[in-house]
Amino acid sequence: MATTVLNSHPKPRAPATPTDVLPTDAAQLYTHIHPILVLSLYALQFPSIVADPVPALATALVPLGILQIAYVAICLPPTGGTATPVVDKKKPGSGAGEKGKKGGMRGTIIPGFLSLIVVSIVIAPLLAAILVLFGAPLTTHHAHTLLAAAHISFLATLPLVYVHGVDGAAWRDIIALLRPVDEVYGGMIGGVVGAWLGAVPIPLDWDREWQKWPVTIVSGAYVGWAVGKMVGGFLKGRKIGFE
């Protein structure tokens, strides 16, 4: 009765593989430190975000962007324009580290920046539109919504853009939840689900300042992203089943 979805979707491409964190010591270490850094930074800024969301969220984007670029530059293999070079890179094993080092700034930081630009220009507005579809105010609070979308997209999608580039097929699989899980992908799923769950406390009658738009969903996205990244790391290589 239950037809597996994959059968009905014959794919000419090579099967997608999970993204590995670079095998260097720095990468292996920093990938665990990174979420702690991001979360503590957010916790530090939380009071000012609650007090006045727009300027505080705008300011908070800068360190978040820097940390995310640092994370992708240190820990993740950059996209090669298509999906194949990523696979290629992993094969030499220790060679990848050498290559990464050799590329240095130009090889990693610049793709990081490019990803940041793609995310800010393309994904953040798209996400803002999705937020509105999910119930964000349409006629007011535009800056709030846009900044919330920017935070969620920096967190959840910047590493994905860095790893997969703008490969349409890969992104289709990403949206359809067809890619094997890894920490980057898990972080995205966690971030989005977290943002959705973050809306739950808004209507409660607790009359707290932090219940206002968009504090809870941004917080939800941060926590969800960290959890998703961790879970994704544990379940690496698994596929999400829908049957």
Binding site: L133, I175, W196, L204, D205
Partner: protein, 924 residues
């Protein structure tokens, strides 16, 4: 199969039985004491030195009682109030201001009962408020201050204003002129009808009570909220009336001993509605006025205008008294016995009319004895004697409510019997107030009148129903996302029942869950096939329509009165043609749909053509349109005519000549024409489809189900407010997009359950009783007919859920899907031949699946099982939440939520089964 049907039938029967038993425990019928009160025996003649049967002299002999509907405290006392004359009286001490706490339900009829009897109305009164015709709810047999005043020598009453009073007190009034509050768009006429009687009545000296009830201010609230620009002028108008009456009292000899009371029956919330227990709704103003008051108010607070009390509620001005206190206070001031069922306490400030402490004691003791009778009747096992020597165990902790009151009464008995000179009269007065306040609190609180065994039985039966349904469920494994979503939503929802703040904001839960679910549908569909124009993906379109639907009407408590599409102004005034264009489109859509069915029926009765031939049907489309257009047009004109009277601001964009023409139509007749036309179409189509089925040798086509659904839609929008009708166009879109998605039966069940709830709230309903919309309950009904009004009321308020329950049957049978020939055009435009074939195969497969589902009824049975489980679990959790945590269901206003839940489900199931049974089974 048979066992399963049996179990399901039993489970479904149990649910209404459980609700009924629970409800009788939750809203127990309060026995009231019949007959007119007489002065209570005083007792303690020796100790106090008064004579039995003696009555302190009353300072007043006439009463002018002016009720201004929804007169919230700040409308009189606040700094922005327009009632400057009343405020000047407060400053000079001839007016004594209070905020009178009005217990929920804050609706006129129960509140009038509370004001006149001094009792706390039961939930029964709320229902009777809607079924106004009911004569068993009249107060003609009950003890009220009206009955007492009429019973006095030469007592004559006159009444002008809201005809609620005339219904409650039939035959009481010497002269009366009732006004009806049916069309709330009437701000002026309804009040002028009252005011025009005032000058002549002030010259008449034959009455001893004149009652006025103004409705205009409430109408303004309902229409435009408390900040409406019409509000201050209306307050000024009321203020002028107060000035006229007050100066007559000052100048006319026969009015010199007249007490003038101005009060609201309830308040209003920020949205201008009432019925619930929000601060604004429960805080009406109460002012006692008379030149004689100047002597007794030198020490009271005369500041006016003022701000709400520090540390008090948002609308708490001056001292907060209970609304029920009005009855015993009037009894004292006008000199008659306190009404028998009174739970009110004489207002302390007005005691100053009697300089002699003994008079005050006599007054209060009679008030206390009258209340004690009710306490005794409620807790018959306890000792409430006057003999202090018969000491019982009343005061030994732990104290139950009854014991506590008995103990306090002991205190009264002890202090009155004491002979010591140290015990002053003031101390005794304090002791009496101590007892009466406690009695008032305990007897009015909701918890004291629960019937716990019935509550438990009802809850247990609901659980039995859940257990029975559990055995009929389809196999739990393998877990499907739809199954998980269903289970998670149900669990979360049951948990939310215990969070009192989510009861008022429940719509947010459904809006949130539906967004997530539609996004899931997008992902799930994308896994099967990626659509390049993903913006136009059916699931994304569902999400977009959902986003519009949820903003249509602002509902709930937290953001009550916030802007929404209906109130944003795009439908108001000159631009209201936008609304009517959308309404017209909705009617046109349904008309065209129905005309298609009629065209087919023409072919069926035509011997020369084959009804299965689409071309033959198309050839008759014109005839079909001609046949249906009168019905569609009449229905549209009815809506226009109704709205022109009910909400004229929504018709300013329409040609005024047309409006004038439709305003002359008889609403009742036009509504009846629409209903009759719809019924006729149903019968006609049923006959033709029956014949067609026979021609096909018993093989059904499912067309009857679609036809019935379309006619049901027509009926439903006739029962919907004009500004909500475009919602049904959006619902139709959602239905269309859902039919484009290839949903599994479980997914259909989950989707329609979610949409059933969403549509209820999107139409502007909420769990507060104030959101119940009466305006369409009288369509086509002239005179009073409880059954018809009740049925229409139910249908007009639960129309959205009904719509989606019916839609679920169509979706489940894969009916109403785009026909294959339409899909072919789509397929042709594709490039890949392989895709085309796949698509065709899938279409054929899903149609085949749908046919199979229709035939063996398996999917239908599963659907019913899941819906029944949903109803059972929801009912059980509401019951447990209401029993265990009173705050969830505190106040009768919130108790409507219980009825809301139950109502949605009963209609959902009952309606769904009737409609769905027709569609799903007969057509098989």
């Amino acid at each position: 199969m048979a066992l399963r049907t049996l179990l399901l039938a039993a489970a479904n029967l149990l649910i209404p039985v459980a609700i009924l038993i629970f409800a009788t425990g939750f809203f127990p019928y309060k026995p009231f004491m019949p007959g007119l009160a007489e002065y209570e025996k005083l007792g303690w003649e020796d100790a106090m030195g008064w004579k039995e049967g003696s009555v302190p002299e009353a300072p007043f002999d006439k009463l002018v009682f002016m009720v201004v509907d929804a007169l919230r405290s700040d409308f009189v006392f606040g700094e922005e109030s327009g009632m400057t004359f009343v405020q000047s009286l407060i400053r000079e001490g001839t007016a004594l201001p209070f905020t009178a706490h009005a217990a929920s339900p804050t609706i006129t009829m129960p509140k009038v009962k509370a004001i006149t009897t001094g009792s706390i109305p039961s939930f029964l009164d709320v229902i009777l408020n809607f079924a106004e015709s009911d004569t068993t709810s009249t107060l003609s047999t009950q003890d009220t201050w009206l009955a007492q005043l009429k019973a006095k020598k030469g007592g004559k009453l006159v009444m002008y204003g809201d005809d609620t009073w005339l219904k409650l007190f039939p035959g009481f009034f010497e002269r009366a002129d009732g006004t009806s509050s049916f069309f709330v768009s009437d701000f002026t006429e309804v009040d002028n009808n009252v005011t025009r009687h005032v000058p002549e009545e002030l010259l008449n000296s034959d009455w001893n009570a004149m009652i006025m009830h103004y409705l205009g201010l409430d109408h303004i609230g309902h229409k435009a909220g408390p900040r409406s620009p019409n509000m201050i002028p209306k307050q000024k108008e009321m203020d002028d009336i107060v000035r006229d009456i007050y100066s007559a009292i000052e100048n006319e000899d026969h009015l010199s001993k007249t007490l003038f009371v101005l009060c609201g029956d309830h308040g209003m919330n920020e949205g201008g509605n009432h019925g619930g227990s929000a601060a604004g709704e429960t805080s009406p103003a109460l002012v006692f006025m008379s030149p004689r008051l100047r002597d007794i108010t030198p020490h009271t607070n005369r500041v006016s205008p003022t701000k709400p009390k520090e540390g008090g509620g948002e609308f708490e001005y001056y001292r907060m008294v209970e609304q029920s206190d009005i009855a015993p206070t009037l009894a004292g001031l006008l000199g008659f016995p306190v009404p028998r069922n009174n739970l009110g306490v004489f207002i302390k400030e007005l005691l100053a009319f009697w300089p002699n402490r003994i008079d005050r004691l006599r007054l209060l003791l009679r008030n206390a004895r009258q209340m004690k009778r009710i306490v005794e009747a409620t807790y018959p096992s306890l000792n409430y004697g006057d003999d202090s020597r018969a000491l019982g165990k009343e005061c030994e902790p732990p104290l139950s409510d009854g014991q506590e009151l008995a103990c306090k009464w002991r205190g009264v008995v002890d202090i009155l019997s004491a002979s010591s000179r140290h015990i002053t009269a003031d101390l005794k007065i304090d002791q009496l107030y101590w007892f009466m306040d406690a009695a008032q609190e305990k007897m009015s609180s909701t918890a004291s009148n629960y019937d716990v065994p019935r509550l438990t039985t009802g809850t247990a039966l609901a659980f039995v129903s859940v257990v029975l349904t559990f055995f009929t469920l389809p196999a739990l494994r393998p877990f499907t996302p739809s199954g998980i979503a269903y289970a998670l939503t149900l669990i979360l929802y049951s948990v939310l029942m215990f969070a009192s703040s989510y009861v008022e904001e429940e719509h947010n839960f459904w809006y949130w869950a539906v967004s997530g679910w539609f996004f899931y549908l997008f992902i799930a569909e994308s896994r099967k096939e990626w659509q390049s124009k993903f913006i136009f993906h059916p699931a994304i379109m569902l999400l977009i329509t959902h986003r519009i639907i949820r903003r249509w009407n602002q509902t709930g408590q937290k953001y009550a009165g916030a802007d929404d599409i209906v109130h944003s102004g795009i439908f108001h005034g000159r631009s209201s043609f936008i609304l009517w264009a959308l309404v017209g489109a909705t009617y046109m859509d349904i008309t065209i749909r129905v005309s298609r069915h009629i065209a087919r029926s023409i072919v069926v009765f035509d011997k020369n053509s084959n009804s299965e031939d689409p071309q033959a049907v198309d050839a008759n489309r014109f005839l079909g349109v001609v046949a249906v257009l009168p019905l569609g047009a009449t229905a549209f004109i009815f809506k226009l005519a109704f709205t022109a009277r009910d909400a004229p601001e929504l018709t300013y964009g329409i040609n005024q000549g047309l409006i004038q023409w439709v305003e002359d139509l008889s609403l009742v007749d036009v509504a009846r024409m629409v209903f009759a036309g719809t019924a006729l179409s149903v019968v006609w189509i049923m006959i033709s489809e029956w014949k067609r089925k026979r021609d096909r040798r018993g093989e059904g086509s499912g067309d009857l189900a679609i036809a019935l659904f379309d006619l049901l839609s027509l009926f439903i929008i006739t029962q919907t407010k004009a500004q909500n009708i475009p919602l049904y166009l959006l619902f139709r879109f959602q239905f269309f997009f859902l039919s484009l998605l290839d949903l599994s039966p479980a997914a259909i069940t989950t989707t329609t359950l979610l949409l059933t709830q969403t549509s209820f709230f999107a139409l502007g309903n909420s769990n507060a009783i104030s959101s119940i919309d009466l305006s369409n309950a009288y369509n086509g009904v002239s005179g009073y007919n409880v059954l018809a009004v009740g049925a229409l009321l139910f249908l007009s308020n639960w129309a959205g859920p009904l719509y989606f329950t019916a839609a679920s049957s169509l979706l489940l049978s894969a009916l109403g899907r785009p026909r294959r020939n339409i899909a072919m055009d789509e397929v042709d435009s594709r490039d890949w031949v392989q895709k085309e074939r796949e698509h065709l195969e899938r279409m054929a497969k899903s149609e085949e699946e749908g046919r199979k589902r229709r035939e063996n009824g398996e999917a239908w049975g599963r659907h019913v099982a899941l819906v029944t489980l949903w109803v059972g679990v929801a009912t059980a959790s509401v019951m447990v939440a209401c029993t265990s945590e009173v705050s969830v269901c505190d106040g009768v206003g919130d108790r409507i939520s219980f009825w809301g839940y139950a109502g949605v489900r009963i209609v959902g199931l009952g309606g769904g089964k009737v409609v769905g049974g027709l569609m799903g089974r007969i057509e098989a």
